[in-house]
């Protein structure tokens, strides 16, 4: 504040001394002040346009075209389909729409379970790791390993472990513990949902752990001490201090986890290959199949646009809801 005041005072004196040149001297300074951020942002903006926005717009355009194998060579000339691709995708009585709806519901269930479990494990581990004890550093590093591994290498290893006849999972569950009557399938049929969930949580929870651990560092120790003096137990401390203090961190964390999990393509693709079992037919794989396996890129793009709209709505509602809640607390 003081600098600005001093500056404007200086400007005022300058104008008094030489009224003719003052506006000319002021303008470039102001232009620089106003224009510099935009200039610095320009490369990023151009790249963003090139890498994200242009393909997005093309994707939206394609969703209004009848882009099948007959037109891929010159897709600009593909006939316009109007809203045909959309009505095909949302006609839930017809096979295509029905499959999309079931894939959507599967994805919703999967996302809720995966994000919930990731968060729960992350919070639990982070809270326990607040205490200093021998080996804490090693455990912290160990917990972060799944997050550090390349997705493909990690998931392909899981797919070997989930094999029915030679996999480690059945070796432990069936051969050693004898929990199942016959060795179950994990990569096909109903169980594939569980397999996918396990891999997703295994892969996702270290991120939650990392973020929450960082959030916990910001809670002053004396609040806990004061609470302990007032007779609050551990559970009460977690409920009354830790969780409310983590609120802003959680807000972003849950949103990011939700978006990542809902859109996850790599995990199911590497785990199940091109034809995902119905029980684990996540929406991103479903759209990929609709586009590349049946060569109907128009319908695939229409589904992508619908997915985008859904995610935008969810994100918007979520932000409105959470920020309203915070405003109330602030007041």
């Amino acid at each position: 504040m003081t600098t600005t005041a001093a500056l404007s005072a200086g400007e005022r004196t300058a104008r008094k001394d030489d009224p003719g040149t003052a506006p000319r001297r002021r303008r470039p300074g102001r232009l620089r002040r106003v224009g510099l951020p935009y200039l610095l942002l320009l490369p990023a903006l151009l790249l963003e346009l090139l890498v994200h926005l242009v393909p997005m717009v093309i994707g939206i355009v394609v969703s209004f075209k009848e882009l099948t194998q007959f037109h891929i060579r010159d897709w600009g000339a593909a006939p316009w389909a109007g809203f045909d691709n959309y009505s095909l995708a949302v006609d839930f009585d017809a096979p295509v729409g029905e499959a999309l709806l079931s894939s959507f519901l599967t994805t919703c269930l999967f996302t809720v379970l995966s994000v919930g479990l990731c968060w729960l494990l992350g919070v639990a581990a982070a809270v326990f790791m607040q205490e200093t004890f021998r080996g804490r550093g090693i455990l912290r590093t160990l917990f972060l390993v799944p997050y550090a591994l390349p997705v493909y290498a990690a998931v392909i290893t899981w797919s070997f472990m989930f094999q029915r006849d030679n996999g480690l999972v059945n070796h432990v569950l069936h051969d050693q513990l004898g929990l199942t009557g016959s060795p179950p399938f994990w990569l096909i049929g109903e169980n594939s949902f569980i397999a996918l969930l396990v891999v997703s949580v295994w892969k996702g929870w270290p991120f939650a752990f990392l973020i929450i651990m960082a959030g916990l560092q910001n809670i002053p120790k004396d609040i806990y001490e004061a609470a302990a003096l007032d007779g609050a137990g551990v559970w009460q401390q977690v409920r009354r201090i830790t969780l409310p203090a983590l609120r802003p961190v959680n807000q972003v964390l849950v949103l990011v986890l939700f978006l990542w999990t809902f859109n996850d393509f790599n995990t199911p693709f590497v785990l199940f290959g091109k034809a995902a079992p119905e029980a684990a037919d996540l929406i991103s794989i479903h759209i990929y199949q609709s586009s590349f396996q049946t060569w109907n890129f128009g319908a695939g793009s229409a589904m992508s646009v619908l997915l985008l709209l859904f995610l935008l709505v969810v994100t918007g509602v979520y932000l409105w809801f959470t920020s309203r809640g915070r405003k109330a607390t602030d007041a």
Partner: protein, 438 residues
């Protein structure tokens, strides 16, 4: 601050969500020219045990071609899992190779895309004429009545491979010739953790190859004469049921095979866990799995009764690899020269010998190298009892939806659920509904 964050989150959402939506590309390229007459790019499919083997087989031949013509061929061996997507991308962007290999069953689908050079009379003349090739192999090069989208390069056929040691241990003297015999033989072999027949239940293409042949044997086709999907005819239902029943009813296929999609059945065969596989040109793979040539035998794939032959006695699809030229190549004459070279009698003998396949070229097929018993079975099958997969533009969709239906039925069978005529028909009905409306 909050607005900035909301905007940031919004941008993140947009970018995540629409990365999926973004599958566009450039416009189509121009028609072919001879702007770059000294070089060619060639995408080869992987025919050997791995990509290195392919490079070792192909590079000396490409060097020979360069010596003779002065055209340098840049080779890229593309794994099967990527090849079709790579071709689609190249088609959309117009940035592709000059010459490429395609699975012959994709011919009609890719022909519809219009990116491949049609082999009309003039183009055929440039590579030695249509008569240079075996007629049955030309049946898998595109929609009938149109100029082929590709020319045959390697021919393959299905046969029954059997593990001699396991047969001897079970006291079986000769390989089964009919499905009934196969089920009986399989039952004798399927005990003590060993199984009669291997299958790749989660490999959609393989499922299609098997049920296509069985449908032929039941007098059915998956497409009508005018190209309409017809998946639920009695013959088609019976064919699919017969295949899945090998696991569900006869119990000669191990339930675990339902999740196989990466040639695990061949490893089981090499490890003496499975006694028989129905496979196309498996010799190279067996070798890479450490099997000696005298450890396995080969017989014609089974039929319902009698001897293999045309029509209902079909016992294989016409499997194989075709060679195509991208229409917008900048070295179109060089590309044709290269195709002529690769399909010449001399190269055909060298290449097909290396890959264990059969030359689709008349003169080369007569070479004594292809008289060995293992290859003679494949050659006779191709000559007498193999039929081309449906040559319709929707072939690739057909493989996906019907292949998935068979996979789901295998899942039922593996889980011990009943596989009935009704459940098979329902699965095929669902598959048919997923086909694009015409």
């Amino acid at each position: 601050m909050r607005r900035i964050r909301a905007a940031a989150v919004g941008a993140v959402t947009l970018s995540f969500a629409l990365t999926l939506a973004a599958c566009g590309g450039g416009s189509s390229g121009t028609e072919g020219s001879n702007e770059q007459p000294r070089t060619l790019t060639y995408w080869a499919s992987s025919q050997g045990a791995n990509l290195e083997v392919d490079k070792k087989v192909l590079q000396p031949e490409l060097d020979k071609f360069e010596e003779r013509t002065g055209i340098e061929v840049k080779l890229e061996v593309v794994p099967w899992g990527d090849l079709l997507n790579r071709i689609l991308t190249a088609t959309t962007s117009g940035q592709g190779p000059d010459v490429l290999n395609i699975g012959n069953s994709w011919s009609a689908s890719l022909q519809a895309g219009g990116a491949l050079l049609p082999w009309d009379a003039k183009n055929f003349e440039a590579i030695g004429g249509r008569d240079h090739f075996v007629e049955s192999a030309l049946g898998s090069t595109g929609v009938q009545g149109q100029d082929p989208a590709a020319v045959p390069l390697y021919s393959m056929a299905y046969a029954l491979y059997y593990n001699k040691k396991m047969f001897a241990d079970a006291g079986i003297e000769k390989p089964p010739a009919t499905w009934k015999e196969l089920a009986e033989t399989g039952k004798k072999l399927a005990k003590d953790g060993k199984w009669g027949l291997g299958a790749e239940g989660s490999n959609l293409s393989n499922n299609i190859h098997q049920v296509f042949v069985l449908a032929k044997q039941h007098g059915a086709d998956f497409f009508t004469a005018d190209g309409e999907a017809d998946f639920t005819s009695d013959g088609a239902v019976a064919a699919v049921k017969q295949y899945v029943d090998l696991m569900a009813k006869d119990k000669v296929i191990a339930p675990g095979n339902a999740e196989y999609a990466q040639n695990q059945s061949l490893s089981d065969f090499a490890k003496d866990k499975t006694a028989m596989v129905l496979w196309q040109t498996a010799s190279a793979t067996f070798k890479s799995q450490g099997m000696d040539e005298d450890e396995w035998g080969v017989a014609p794939a089974p039929v319902q009764s009698g001897e293999p032959g045309p029509g209902k006695a079909t016992n294989s699809m016409v499997a194989g690899i075709n060679m195509a030229v991208f229409k917008n190549s900048k070295n179109i004459d060089g590309a044709k020269k290269f195709v002529k070279f690769m399909t010449s009698d001399e190269e055909q003998v060298i290449l097909n010998k290396a890959y264990g396949s059969i030359p689709p070229v008349k003169a080369a097929q007569q070479d004594p190298a292809f008289d060995a018993p293992a290859l003679a079975v494949l050659r006779d099958t191709l000559a007498n009892s193999a039929t081309a997969l449906p040559q319709v533009p929707e072939e690739s969709q057909f493989e996906t939806v019907v292949g998935t239906a068979v996979k789901e039925l295998f899942v039922d069978a593996a889980a011990g659920r009943a596989v009935t005529t009704e459940s098979v028909r329902a699965g095929l009905e669902k598959a048919q509904q997923q086909m694009p409306k015409k």
